[in-house]
């Protein structure tokens, strides 16, 4: 049994996959707590889709795909802050038009370029088994930076999420911290795309946090529990992927969804 459990770790690509997915799952789940509490799941989905187009443009220009993804993700996030503060437009509608249009542009750009059909698939569904040591280091650095920002400005993010109107009235820089929080969310999405792909990345943000929110109403505990769910989902998901030959991004998200279902079921049973 132990041999069976340790079997995936004899392969370097699996060790890197566990490391990479574990890191991004913890960061995404922690950041995702704010996404769930502020009901920003749709925005998270939009950011991941526009990040895809950023990757497409980066591939065409021959620059880092992380840079391209981050640029488009941040543009989307800040564009939404700008729209919500300066216009009376329906945010959801504007966002849906914007992100599907930009996503379609990404598909056209990639599919029109010879030799990118394989990349398209891995971008949409993730390719964590192909992750390299250099990328793990990059993800690790990003995870530490995001963790430090979250820790240092934790109370600031809570304030602008809980009572932005009262905070702004007292001259607190609400727009700055709302934008910074969205940049952090964007960065968490960008570093998670390689693990689970554009289509499923939003699940890494919201499913563990949603499961945790059913258990506790203390924010600090919620973040810790959400990260733990994310880590466990990545761990079990990769095992299932290894032994059953299923796409790892899909199995990680599937396990996270099962966790959510179990927590929901237990909660319902306890109320009966």
């Amino acid at each position: 049994m132990i041999d069976l459990l340790l079997e995936p770790f004899q392969y370097g690509f699996m060790v890197r996959a566990f490391l990479g997915t574990g890191l991004v799952a913890v960061v995404a789940a922690a950041v995702g707590t704010f996404v769930v509490l502020k009901r920003l799941a749709f925005l998270g989905d939009a950011i991941s889709h526009t990040a895809f187009t950023g990757i497409a443009i980066a591939l065409l220009l021959g620059v880092s795909i992380y840079m391209g993804a981050m640029a488009l993700a941040v543009l989307t996030a800040l564009g939404v802050v700008f729209l919500t503060r300066t216009s009376r437009i329906n945010d959801d509608t504007a966002l849906a038009i914007l992100f599907t249009g930009v996503f379609a542009l990404g598909i056209v750009l990639l599919s029109g370029t010879p030799g990118f059909s394989g990349d398209l698939n891995s971008l949409l569904l993730g390719s964590v088994m192909a992750i390299q040591t250099r990328e793990i280091i990059l993800i690790g650095i990003a995870a530490v930076v995001l963790g430090l920002i979250m820790a240092f400005f934790y109370h600031h993010f809570v304030l602008v999420s809980f009572d932005p109107v009262g905070a702004e009235a007292a001259g607190f820089p609400v727009a700055f911290f709302q934008s910074l929080l969205l940049v952090v969310i964007s960065a968490a999405i960008v570093i998670s795309i390689q693990a689970v792909g554009v289509v499923l990345v939003v699940a890494l943000l919201i499913t563990p946090a949603a499961a945790a929110s059913l258990i506790t109403h203390r924010l600090e505990k919620l973040i810790l529990l959400s990260s733990a769910f994310g880590l466990l989902a990545s761990f079990f998901g990769l095992y299932i992927s290894y032994f059953f030959g299923a796409p790892p991004g899909a199995t990680v998200v599937l396990v996270a969804t099962v966790f959510f279902g179990l927590v929901l079921g237990v909660q319902k049973l306890r109320r009966v």
């Binding site: 509490l37 502020k38 009376r88 109370h155 600031h156 809570v158 304030l159 999420s161 809980f162 009572d163 109107v165 009262g166 905070a167 702004e168 009235a169 007292a170 001259g171 607190f172 820089p173 700055f176 929110s213 506790t216 109403h217 203390r218 924010l219 919620l222």
Partner: protein
């Protein structure tokens, strides 16, 4: 920061025209509130009570004005000493935050971007909560408190912010008579500590006992002064009459507003 001419005034607004894009709500409104006052803004829905408060604290940009000062300073400079308590529905009460953490936000607002809580802040936060009768709710999720208790939590936060001017938008909404009187008592206590209170309210019941200055507002200033001067029958008819439904000869109901 140099103080303006109206240093003895908590609020000084002259010829303010304000509102929302395409909708002018306030027309050339002028109003002064002395430091240490308990002032109320009354008027019909849509009369501009909230617009006046929001413009004063910079949440809305004024269209035109000749003077606008908070505590004798420009709005930008004065805002750090101003606490604004929004209407209940503008706060996310489902957010998982404890009563103590809400009160501590007063320190953060004062300190700005690099603000951190010290041990002394936590001690002060607990002391202020005790003072407001909320000592046993320190770790309670704030949204689970009653409407009156939530208002007290926000007033406690204003204390930690060291705010000298406290603006409240419809603070008595959803409060029962007992909670309203407790809130009124708290206003008096805060005034004794040198605070100025300005509240927009639709509730006329406790105006005479709670406030010493009233502004009647319906897009423009109808009348202002002591409660007994403002709350005359003639003034109330002018202020609210056109908002009362009228039944016509054939039974049709019309409202002028």
């Amino acid at each position: 920061m140099a103080k303006g001419r109206g240093a003895d005034l908590a609020l000084n607004i002259q010829n303010l025209t304000a509102g929302y894009p395409g909708n002018v709500v306030l027309h050339e409104v002028s109003w002064q509130v002395k430091r240490g006052s308990l002032a109320a803004i009354i008027g019909p829905n849509g009369g501009g009570k909230s617009t006046l408060l929001k413009t004063a604290v910079g949440l809305l940009s004024p269209f035109e004005y000749t003077a606008m000062e908070l505590l004798g300073r420009s709005p930008k400079a004065g805002r750090k000493q101003v606490a604004y308590l929004p209407q209940q529905e503008e706060v996310d009460w489902t957010f998982p935050i404890s009563v103590l953490d809400v009160v501590l936000q007063g320190r953060l607002v004062r300190q700005g971007i690099w603000g951190r809580y010290s041990k002394a802040d936590y001690t002060l936060g607990r002391e202020v909560l005790d003072f407001f009768g909320l000592g046993k709710y320190v770790n309670t999720q704030v949204g689970s408190l009653s409407g009156g208790q939530r208002q007290r939590v926000f007033l406690a936060r204003a204390m930690l912010q060291e705010a000298d001017l406290i603006l409240l938008d419809e603070p008595s909404t959803g409060l029962d008579a007992k909670a309203q009187h407790e809130l009124a008592d708290l206003f008096v206590t805060l005034r004794k500590r040198g605070k100025t209170i300005v509240a927009a309210t639709h509730d006329l019941n406790c105006l005479t006992e709670c406030f010493d200055h009233v502004l009647a507002l319906d897009g423009q200033v109808l009348v202002e002064g002591k409660p007994e001067e403002v709350l005359t029958e003639a003034n109330m008819v002018k202020l609210f009459a056109r908002h009362f439904p009228k039944v016509g000869a054939s039974g049709e109901v019309t409202v002028h507003d």
